[in-house]
Symmetry: C2
Subunit: 561 residues, 2 copies
């Protein structure tokens, strides 16, 4: 990729010629009355479409995942968008299904989640800012519930909630470390009951997970009412239904549940809906959007957050199970640069050819390949090209793959859009048509929570075992006692390493995973296992991205990635 | 009004037959490219329209205000919508301009702010929930700024901000008393600098005020950059521009600045844009929406929050001055029921005729009439009818008005829509055409802050004077020293009484107003004076309205007012 010769992402996006969203919808046979336009190029599609097409044959779901991310960048979203465009170029009807970005990292340091170069979803500014308001709706619903809990304490506490055992925190869609640990209710009797509290980032909210896993409005309300918010003084869980606020929460989320339809730079339809992070949540876009895409397209290209150890594992063990869906193939994205970082190089050493570092770093890719094989799925390795890649390095990678019977495909979707993804598109179609698909989740739901976590750690992370803190060990027992043991597990772990130590790159061995705390998410339908030092509220860097942003008096935005 | 014989507000709204928003826009000659639809019945209108019509003659601005609100209800928004509909019925081209409701009171106890009965703006559910996301954008921008401040402290505090003198709090669009006084930054060195903080409701944010007072995108950014967020250890103010985040804040607010176009039940165009409360903020919809309405319509009917002591005073002294606009007439809304409460009755005593209480309660209306006269404006008193009103009471009121040369008009817009407002519409047109307009703000900007407050207290509230707390007295000096003395004043006071004691109804005399604290809002361009016990973050009642809300699996909402 020649980043220096083509315009910036935002310049490309601003120069795009999008079709009116009505035309994109028409191309998918979405009836006019089922589309709610949000401006000229965004729309929400009614879930009625899903109901109407219930018996329609499903399109093929292609999951795009990656090696563990490094500062070198892998371009997973870019490959997802580029592959969707490429499939359409080679005559397949494809739809892209992505997550919607959180404002927190956009204002912090991560950059947009709308792809890049000539493989972006547009309007990228809207998508990266407030979009259609889904995440704001979740923030509002989440915090209304928190306010109702504190009001319940203040107004007499009829449910006998133990103020020390309220597990429902507050959320904001921001990176704000000063809100991680707070004390609320100060100032005297008119201002609530003092207690410890804290804020998570909205994308870590159980409500975000629920929005992404709910099958319809009814299921959304049922899941919301099952959320555990606290325990009473007898340690009995208090559900949202005990507070009676599930109706209001559902009302606040009624529009957010409808999938958002946009398009790529090449007018490929794209659903961008739901946005949990994959390190602190389950990391996949919504089931309703993915399902709708399978009913409207022959191929659905979707991604899951971060590396295959996080996003893909949860996509396959949680999302596919909840949606009763089956993926057709997986694309594992890697770059020469990132692999060399896994082989021990620093970011400023990546310009030079280094076959030794590349060779060493392949171990990271190798582990993720083994993981996808363990799920029984056909896959392709996509090598996302950079200008600094040497021929020798590319040949090495190609040979490495071929020696293992792995299908590799070079892509150049950042610079060339769909054209740069045609080889990958052909490879994907080929593995789907020719390879056998023995998809099966990694673990059975009947296993204990402890066994499920151990299985993920051993088979997906390649670790030796799990160490539970005394708190987590106690919680394991409580969870089984409550009858929640048959739920799947949502691992919260650093994205940078297969282990829970972000500094261990490549393919670390002989490590154990430290489970610090378990959080029951009964509405979402999983148990979160917090490992290592993973935080559910990020902080801003020394120079936040926000300081670079500006807008002219004519409304032209700059500095947004 | 016969509340028991006609359907509920939400049922009426759900049964409405709205026109597509494109047709409403077309009727106003808004070019197609200037309308961004948000769903089928809501749209944002580009500020380009305002620029294009700069030299167009202005329509007449009619301000709807009221007596001090009581639990009996006055129906100010309902009269505003009904008057707009009525003006159209009698052949005038009228546009309604309202504030957008905050979620806090909707989930608490206040009820919707979209009018009522057959005088509502629609889609009422959307308007009362997330609408077009403006308030959420303000929440996001406000809290991004807060996060940047705490991040600045955490990352070395180059500006030497005194953590004890940060005046920028955080906000949520909720009633949540437990967040009024909090301690943040706990948990050790990785989690920020511990300090006292608190949350206000979003509609009290200076950013909300700025959005409502900004003339265009450039002015918005300039105002945002002037906001004072803290003081350094030498007591020098720290502005947003010192932090360099004004660009990002403006980016987050770029869509929110565009006025929202909707319609009434009778298809009268309505701008619903900006929503500061009138008790803790300036209480008026946006200048850009009101100005746009004056360019597109012959009559603009707009309201300001609560009674004339709060909303109207700030509309006339702050909004009209900032927008260089001049109102044509004022409508003062009263009801027999509410006047009887001002005369000493309880809510359960209002069914019976009581001329004595009515006579006594007239003093409240009388004071507001004097206030509007003091501003030199033509006005009409609108008597909003209820079924319980007796003929004797109505005659008394009529005669009382006529004896004072006041123009009264009976309205029944709740039950009859525009038809029930025709008498009022004729009366408004008549006073505009026949009475002289000597509009002049109450005070000159050159007066000191102390004098301005005193003038408002004496001339608008009818009080004897002002008592400043020692904190406020110190702040008065600091404000003059900083050179902010020439700004107007934004009074924060209880809406229930002319005094700062919510229990003193009618027309209290011999009272002083207690100014507890002054808050410089340099970006908004005013100094907030907090009086009495007024809170900038409301609490939820024992049984919040949220507990009544529900939604069916088909998506039909119930319990939303």
């Amino acid at each position: 990729m020649m980043k220096h010769t083509i315009p910036s992402d935002i310049e490309i996006a601003q120069a795009a010629k999008p079709l009116p969203i009505q035309e994109i919808a028409k191309g998918l046979d979405i009836p006019e009355e089922a589309l709610e336009p949000y401006g000229k190029y965004k729309g929400k599609v009614s879930l009625d479409v899903l109901k109407r097409l219930e018996r329609q044959k499903d399109g093929k779901v292609v999951l795009v995942t990656a090696i563990n991310p490094t500062p070198a960048g892998e371009g997973k979203s870019t490959v997802t968008v580029g592959l969707g465009q490429a499939l359409n170029r080679i005559g397949k009807q494809a739809i892209v299904a992505l997550r919607e970005p959180s404002l927190g990292p956009s204002m912090g340091m991560k950059g947009g989640a709308a792809g890049g170069g000539y493989s972006q979803v547009i309007p990228m500014e809207d998508i990266n800012l407030h979009f259609t308001g889904d995440i704001h709706s979740i923030t509002a619903a989440h915090n209304l519930l928190a306010a109702v809990i504190d009001n319940h304490l203040h107004q007499g506490n009829a449910l006998d909630i133990d103020p020390r055992r309220i597990i429902w925190k507050r959320v904001l869609d921001l990176n704000d470390r000063a809100l991680r640990n707070i004390v609320i209710g100060l100032g005297g009797p008119a201002h609530g009951i003092p207690r410890e509290d804290g804020f998570d980032i909205t994308v870590a909210s159980e409500i975000m997970a629920i929005l992404c896993l709910a099958l319809d409005l009814e299921d959304l309300k049922a899941r919301l009412s099952r959320m555990v918010v606290a325990y009473n003084r007898q340690h009995v869980p208090i559900f949202v239904s005990d507070l009676g606020v599930e109706g209001a929460l559902t009302v606040l989320l009624k529009d957010a549940l409808h999938p958002n339809l946009v398009q790529t730079l090449e007018n490929t339809p794209a659903f961008v809906h739901g946005g949990p992070f994959a390190n602190i949540a389950h990391g996949c876009n919504s089931i309703v959007a993915t399902k709708m895409a399978t009913k409207l397209g022959d191929y659905v290209v979707t991604e899951a957050g971060f590396g295959a150890d996080l996003g893909a594992e949860k996509f396959l063990d949680i999302k596919m199970r909840a949606g009763a869906m089956k993926p057709s193939a997986v694309v594992i994205v890697a770059t020469i640069r990132a692999l060399k970082m896994h082989g021990g190089l620093q970011k400023d050493q990546l310009q030079e050819k280094n076959l030794e570092a590349l060779h060493k770093g392949m171990s990271n890719l190798e582990k993720h390949i083994e993981t996808i094989e363990a799920f029984g799925l056909p896959y392709v390795v996509a090598i996302n090209r950079f200008i600094s890649d040497s021929e020798a390095e590319l040949s090495f990678l190609q040979e490495w793959c071929e020696a293992r019977g792995v299908t590799p495909a070079l892509t150049n979707v950042w610079e060339e859009g769909g054209k740069g993804g045609e080889a990958l598109a052909h490879a994907v179609v080929q593995v789907i048509e020719q390879k056998e698909n023995h998809f099966k989740p990694l673990y059975e739901l009947e296993e204990s929570i402890e066994d499920k976590i151990t299985e993920i750690v051993k088979k997906v992370y390649g670790g030796q075992g799990v160490e539970f803190s005394s708190l987590a060990a106690k919680q394991l027992k409580e969870i089984e006692q409550q009858g929640w043991g048959a739920l799947p597990v949502c691992m919260a772990k650093t994205q940078y390493s297969l282990s829970d130590d972000p500094k261990k790159l490549g393919r670390p061995k002989d490590f154990v995973i430290h489970v610090r705390e378990l959080r029951p998410r009964i509405g979402a339908g999983f148990i979160v296992a917090l490992t290592g030092d993973i935080l559910t509220m990020p902080g801003l860097p020394k120079l936040p991205a926000a300081l670079q942003m500006d807008i002219s008096s004519e409304g032209v935005i700059s500095g947004l990635f």
